[in-house]
Structure formats: structure tokens, C-alpha cells
Amino acid sequence: MNELPQQLVNGLLLGSMYGLVAIGYTMVYGIVQLINFAHGEIFMVGGFGALTVYLYVLPDGTSLWVALPLMLIGGIIVAVLVAVGAERFAYRPLRTAPRLAPLITAIGLSLALQQAVWAWYPDARSAITFPQIDGGPFEIGSVTIQTGDVFLLIAAPISMAILAYFVMKTRTGRGMQATAQDPDTAKLMGINTDRIIVVAFALGATFAAIGAVAYGLKYGEVQFRMGFILGLKAFTAAVLGGIGNIYGAMLGGVVLGVAEALSTAYIADIPGMDQFGSQSWANVWAFVLLILVLLFRPQGLLGERVADRA
């Protein structure tokens, strides 16, 4: 069996998830030049928000067709509240402080959110099962697509399209672009930059929550540490694509996911490389790729074109 098409699909799916989370890193960075390291945990609380709706709000046995949209909304609400709260209480007071201060706050916030879920969410000390969509996998030629992955496959491009429309066409979106270019001038032009920053955080959290629901459906579980590694990967994806560039975030995610899948599948076949090809080396190859891109194209794959920065 030729496994290349399947491995490409595996990578594409994993990459789409990285991309959804990477959007949050890239938007916040594009506007306030802050790397919001707690974004992985915003993703995580989004997953728990969706789970809460399923477990504690909806009656038992609700069809997933009804539950899923409500879970999405619940996840988004929780993630947005946490993100906006973080912005208001953890980052805004430090906006004029040296660059390093909010970064350290972000890491502290990330640990605090993990520990909060660990300590207070019922049964969250180990993984909690997430509801699954019934039905068998879809076979297209030699490629198998899981039912749980269909959500991701649909949600990722739609999210991107909505985001692109929002940033390019709406008044707030143009305000974001202006703030990204020059916050001071934007303020002089009558743009409420504080509001724009809140919107950037909220949008990033929305996509993170969509990603978290996709994660739950794909892997069948959520857990308090799920955002940590995934957040790091998404940050890597954002840098790979050109941090500050929303299309770059998605592209960076997909490139990273495909690189991981292909390195697991094929590097061991290269003579002399057999011990570097297993899945446990996928992270290493992902970072080798990142280093190569930063060495030869420091602005990232798509670059950080100022006009697109939002």
C-alpha cells in the first residue's frame, strides 16, 4: 500500500489544528507585539468549556448534532472570557512595561490556568473522555478519514475564510490593521486601540476553542495539560509562517503537521537514518525545519508584510 496520500492527510489534519491555535498567537503578536504564552491554556479551557456544556448543561443522551453547536458556543464563551480577562488584568497593566514583563506574566498565567483546571474541575487530574461522533470512517481511495476529523476538515477553512473577511472588510478589521501598523497614529485617527486589542484576544480565543473542540473529537479526550505542547507547536507554526501574518499561521501549521507526519513515515527509510525516524523524533524534525526557515528566511514563509499584519 502506498501510504503517502494517507500520511499527507494525517499531516494536514494535525496541521490544521496547529493553524487554528496559531492564529491566536499571530493576531495578538501582530497588534501588541506580545507572545501570549497562555494561549495554549486558552485552547485548553475552551475544550473544557465545551465538555462542561455536554456533561453538565445538556440532558444526557442529547444528539451530538444538537450538542455540537452548543458545545462550540460554550467553549468559545469560556475561552473568550478567560482571554479577555487575561488581557484586562494580566497584560493591560503591563502594556508600557519592558517587553519581558508581560511574557513572564504569560508563562505564569499559563501554569496558573493549568493548575486551576487540575485542582477544581471534577476528575480533571487525568484525561476526561470527550463525546464522539458516531459513524464509520470515510474511505476515499486509499485514504481513510475519521468521522471525528471531518469537523476539523470543515471548520479550519471556514474559520480562515471568516477571519479573512473580518480583517479585510469590516470596520473593526481595518481598525486592527491600522493598529498593527502604528498604534499611536491609529489612536490619533480615532481608533479605540484598547477595544481593538480586546477584539484580537477574543478572536484568537474563538479559534482556539474551535481547535479544542476539534481536538476533543479527534482524540476522544481532553486533559489539563493538552494546551502545553500544542501551544508550543502552534507558536512554532506562527513563527514558521511569519508571525503577525494570519495566512502564514495557517500555512505554518499545515507545513509543520505535514513535516511531522512525513518525518515519522519516511526518515527511517533513508540509509543511515533509521534511528532518527520514529515518531519520537517528529518534534526534533519540526524544530530543525523551523531553524532552517529562520536561517534562510528570517521573516517566516509568508513574511511579516505590515499591511497584512492583523
Binding site: M1, N10, L13, I35, T144, R225, I243
Partner: protein, 409 residues
């Protein structure tokens, strides 16, 4: 420029954050107060009480607690009251070593039950041995812990203070291979491990025996236990044409792995060791996990006559968590320490001697009693003399014993 250096700092901080998560919180109360006229002896427990492996860890802690309560109730050792002090190692060797140091510093601790993970045990052994503090693990199965790194050619005991009630992977891996080849009639295996001390060791002993029997290893993989996406590995398994997967590792990865392999279209069973023998595995593997197999040390606790009392008492105490795979062994480990303390106290006219720790370690070698899991005693390496194993399979959402036996070599 400013932005580039920001990314560099960020990367450095990210690396720092990775290490930070290795620590985290741990609870536990110091238990150095002695009560009334009697002496208090503390039995330490080191296990992952939080995190992915906490189901197994809490089962260990509760079972030791039960042993201590039983000994106190029966006044098993005249004039001695036992207490437990449980520390959380989160499955991390660094945390385990810190806990070991903490136990050594507390003079009332005369023995420690734990840890769960072989890799954690590696980091603790020397600390305990230097202090002559006895450590009895209910769960470590890596042969090197007792018989030295060259155990396949030249067995050599590493630490005189280390004992275990569980049997080793030198027996468990081949036992699984014989079952898979002879009973389940599978000939082509895909071997996966998590590169940790336990998982890699188990996968190696399995592969060796499987090949010796005439089976074929059609592929190998190592996975990163920090990730959840095994789709690339699952696809490799499918295209390899294997009819069975052996996984050396633990249930937090084994569950999703089993699920993703089946989802990729390879409807073949996943076989693992005692590290996947947990109710949580079934939860994580989902409906498609039916037919998956695990070997575990000893006979099923529920079936041994010696274990009936343990199961009943465990229920009476009303512990919130199940005793899981290592409950019986943990109870026996704690009881071995209690027996050793009893002998030391009796030899010293009913009092603890000044060099109690060294004496208890010495006494441990000669301990022999009928425990929950059968006869409990230790050979010249500190390994359990009881070498029984059982194969379990997942049926109707529960583990069912398929075959018990001792590995014939």
C-alpha cells in the same frame, strides 16, 4: 532586530517552562510526631498521585494505607504504631529523587513502598541505599533495577536496600510473546515503545522471544509520550501488514494508540504489559479496544483465596479509587516492611534499635509470608520469588483474565 531577540528570549523561556512543569505541586504531611508511650514507624509511599498515571498511583497509596490500618488494628507489632506518608512523584524521575531525599531526612521512616515507574526507581535507588533505607516496589518490572545493566549475561545485584514484589520484564515480555505466538496464533508483529526504561525494556524482551519462536517483527516505532497524535504511526502499522501490535509503555498513550491504529483501518489487537492493565486504558481506547491484550504480574487478585480478605477490606474502608493493577502488590510490599519491622523489634527486646534502618533492610531479605498475591519472599537479587503472570483481554468494556501461568523459559 528587537523582534528577533524577543523570539530568542521567548524560545529560552519556553524551554524553561518545559522544565518547570516537571516540578509542580505535591502534597503530603510530615508525620514525625510520636504518640503516647508507643513508637511511631512511618512507611513512605512514593507514586504518581496526580497526572496521567494517577489511577495506578492512588491504588498503590490506598493499598498501603489499608495494610498500615490492618497492622495497627491487630496490634501486629507490639508497641509500634504505623503511619503512612505519601509523596507524589508525578511519574517524573527528578520528583522521585527529591521525595527519596525527603524520606531519608525523616528519621521515623523505616521503609518506603514505591515507586510505580522503573525510570523513577532508577533515580531513587542510590539515595535510599546510601541511607540504608529499604524500598519495596510493587510495580517496577525493569530487570536492570535488581540484576544490573548486564542482566542478560552477568547478573549482579545493584543495591542491597531495593526489593520488589512484582516480577520482571525478563519474564513478562517473553510470557506475552509465547501467548501471542502460541495461543493467539499471531505471526507478524509491529513493535512500538515509548523509549522509557520500562517500555523499551519490555518491548525488547518481547521481540527477542517472539523472533525465537519463529514470529516476524515487521516494523518498529518509538513514540513521544507527550503527544496525542499517533496517526502517522497508525498508518505505518496498517501498511506493514502486521497482524498484532506490541506496545511497551503505559495506558495514557496505549489507549489513544490502540484507538488510532484501529481507526486507520488495521483491525488488529494491541498487546501490552502491566503498564496498560488499567480501567483507564479501556476508557481511552474506546469501543474499538475490544480484543486488546495485556499481561500483568501475578494471578488476578479477585481469584486468589489469599486476596479475598484484601478485596473485602478495601471495599469496607471505602476508598474512592480502585486498587488497580498493583493494589495487591502494594499491600504485600507494605506488609513485607511491617514483617521486617516486627522481626527487628522482637530481636531487640520489643524496642527499635538505634540502627533500625539497616536492621530492617537486613531483615527484609529473610521475610516470608502468605500475602495477597500468594507467597511473598525475595531472592538474592531482591526480586520476588513468586513469578506468576496473567494475560487479560478487553471484553465488554472490562479486563478479563484469559490465561494465568508461570513463564517456562
Amino acid at each position: 532586530m528587537r523582534q528577533r531577540s524577543l523570539i530568542a528570549i521567548t524560545a529560552a523561556l519556553a524551554a524553561g517552562a518545559l522544565t518547570l512543569t516537571a516540578c509542580g505541586s505535591r502534597d503530603g504531611d510530615g508525620g514525625s510526631d510520636s504518640n503516647g508511650g508507643g513508637t511511631t514507624v512511618v512507611i513512605g509511599v512514593d507514586a504518581p498521585l496526580t497526572g496521567d498515571l494517577s489511577a495506578l498511583g492512588l491504588g498503590i497509596k490506598n493499598s498501603v494505607d489499608l495494610a498500615v490500618k490492618t497492622a495497627n488494628k491487630d496490634k501486629y507489632v507490639e508497641g509500634v504504631t504505623f503511619k503512612i506518608e505519601a509523596l507524589d512523584d508525578q511519574g517524573q524521575p527528578s520528583a522521585g529523587q527529591q521525595n527519596a531525599t525527603k524520606f531519608v531526612a525523616n528519621e521515623d521512616v523505616l521503609g518506603v513502598v514505591g515507586p510505580l515507574n522503573s525510570s523513577v526507581a532508577e533515580s531513587m535507588q542510590k539515595v535510599f541505599d546510601d541511607a540504608k533505607l529499604v524500598e519495596v516496589s510493587p510495580a517496577n518490572t525493569n530487570p536492570a533495577l535488581t540484576q544490573g545493566p548486564d542482566w542478560q549475561t552477568k547478573k549482579e545485584r545493584q543495591y542491597k536496600s531495593y526489593f520488589r514484589t512484582a516480577t520482571t520484564d525478563a519474564i513478562q515480555g517473553p510470557f506475552a510473546a509465547q501467548y501471542v505466538y502460541n495461543d493467539a496464533k499471531k505471526k507478524k508483529v509491529f513493535v512500538i515503545d515509548d523509549k522509557k526504561t520500562y517500555g523499551a525494556g519490555l518491548a525488547a524482551t518481547f521481540s527477542e522471544e517472539f523472533k525465537k519462536l519463529g514470529g516476524q517483527v515487521v516494523g518498529t516505532e518509538h513514540i513521544d509520550p507527550d503527544t496525542k497524535d499517533f496517526s502517522a504511526v497508525a498508518t505505518k502499522v496498517k501498511s506493514s501488514g502486521a497482524d498484532v501490535v506490541y506496545y511497551g509503555g503505559e495506558y495514557p498513550q496505549a489507549g489513544p494508540l490502540s484507538k488510532q491504529i484501529k481507526a486507520a483501518g488495521a483491525k488488529i489487537p494491541l498487546v501490552g504489559g502491566d503498564g496498560i492493565y488499567s480501567a483507564d486504558f479501556i476508557k481511552l481506547a474506546g469501543a474499538s479496544g475490544t480484543g486488546d491484550l495485556a499481561t500483568s504480574v501475578g494471578a488476578p487478585v479477585e481469584e486468589l483465596p489469599s486476596a479475598k480478605e484484601f478485596v473485602a477490606n478495601y471495599k469496607t474502608e471505602g476508598y474512592k479509587e480502585a486498587y488497580e493493577a498493583y493494589g495487591g502488590y502494594s499491600y504485600d510490599s507494605a506488609w513485607a516492611i511491617i514483617e521486617a519491622v516486627k522481626k527487628v523489634v522482637e530481636d531487640n527486646n520489643g524496642e527499635l534499635p538505634d540502627d533500625a534502618r539497616a536492621k530492617v533492610t537486613e531483615a527484609m531479605q529473610g521475610v516470608s509470608f502468605d500475602g495477597v498475591t500468594g507467597k511473598v519472599s525475595f531472592d538474592e537479587f531482591g526480586d520476588a520469588t513468586n513469578k506468576q503472570l496473567t494475560v487479560y483481554s478487553v471484553e465488554n468494556g472490562a479486563w478479563n483474565a484469559a490465561k494465568s501461568g508461570t513463564y517456562g523459559g
